[in-house]
Assembly symmetry: C2
Homo-oligomer: 214 residues x 2
């Protein structure tokens, strides 16, 4: 487990966890790299290579024990214990994310919600009162918040990111369409929804290349 993990591998670990959980819920006790690969449209070798970056979880001639593999994958992802998350920005997208049930189901708990709009502060969003940004640092430290979801307008994103970093957050999931500067020990991952749609459009165009200008 102590070499550097390929980026491509990292992006597949949570896929593995999700599919093995599904598989187990369907009543299976074990799963082979072949079966897991087929579900995900990968190769069996790729699945095994990915997993062995973190340890040897399977048994030759048998496969992987679902329960054990799930435990290990959660350990890898750090979701064996619940992680506290702050959500900043209570627009339409922010409110949807605040109540997105899958975060809670997968080991992340949104424990504080912030906005800087006085009309929103004090309102409830899901189970949480929206708090003023000025409380950000104190609340993050008090509630042991290590990750943040950023759903504010692009113009405000860098400022909020700086404040989150100052508040001791280690990772930021950024829904604004700007690159964020952050110190090297803080991870920023940007989800640009409009670009996802653009890329889908491009993929469609290339697949139908000459065919028609669909």
């Amino acid at each position: 487990m102590r070499d550097t993990i390929p980026k491509a591998t990292m992006s597949r670990i949570s896929l593995y966890l999700h599919e093995v959980e599904q598989w187990q819920q369907q009543g299976h006790e074990k799963i082979s790299s072949q079966q897991l690969a087929e579900i995900l449209g990968l190769t069996a070798t790729q699945v095994r290579k990915d997993l062995t970056h973190f340890g040897q979880f399977g048994r030759p001639g048998v496969g992987y024990h679902c329960g054990e593999l799930i435990r290990q994958l959660r350990l890898i992802l750090g979701t064996d214990r619940v992680r506290h998350v702050a959500l900043v920005g209570c627009g339409n997208l922010g409110r949807a994310l605040a109540t997105y049930p899958r975060f809670e189901k997968r080991g992340f708990s949104i424990v504080a919600v912030f906005d800087n709009d006085p009309r929103k502060i004090g309102r409830k969003v899901g189970p949480h009162k929206v708090q003023d940004m000025s409380h950000l640092s104190a609340v993050c430290r008090q509630k042991d918040i290590t990750l943040a979801i950023l759903a504010v307008p692009a113009a405000a994103a860098q400022d909020v990111a700086d404040r989150l970093v100052a508040a001791g957050v280690y990772g930021i999931l950024n829904f604004a369409i700007v690159g964020l500067a952050a110190p090297s020990d803080v991870v920023v991952s940007t989800v640009a929804l409009s670009m996802e749609l653009e890329q889908l459009g491009l993929a469609v165009r290339l697949r139908h290349h000459g065919t028609r200008d669909a």
Copy 2:
């Protein structure tokens, strides 16, 4: 332009478009591969290689003309003309996406919204009345809808996807956490928000590897 485009290149084209637009709005007339690369944290060579997959848009000694490059990038992405999009699923996330202003700003227009919940049908979400799923096929064809955003529960996703395909949609942006089966001429792109958060958590853990179990 007629070799196969690397997947990695495809995923960067919309980044280029966005940054060149910003750059132009800041009053610049031209941009060099070096400047664009710095903004995005890439190398100048990579930017040039990516662009030349689609044609030769720059002039040696000068750089790229912003206006011309933007025009070409939109042509590549197919957003030179507005594309009609259907949104299926009016839960919290669906409603946020239905009114997400950036889609409209970048050449995509949500022209129809569907749900199968009778209590939601007829309500307005942004400028659109929520329609029953039974109208899906007729509306998609009538309004020349080529792309769809799928924001329904995982259990319903495959069924809806099948109906979208039957309705002549070429691409599906899927927010449900399931792999969707679709014919090879239909592109499915899945955005799994909870997995984004898991991957962020993993990246954080690996960056701080031994340090502390943040």
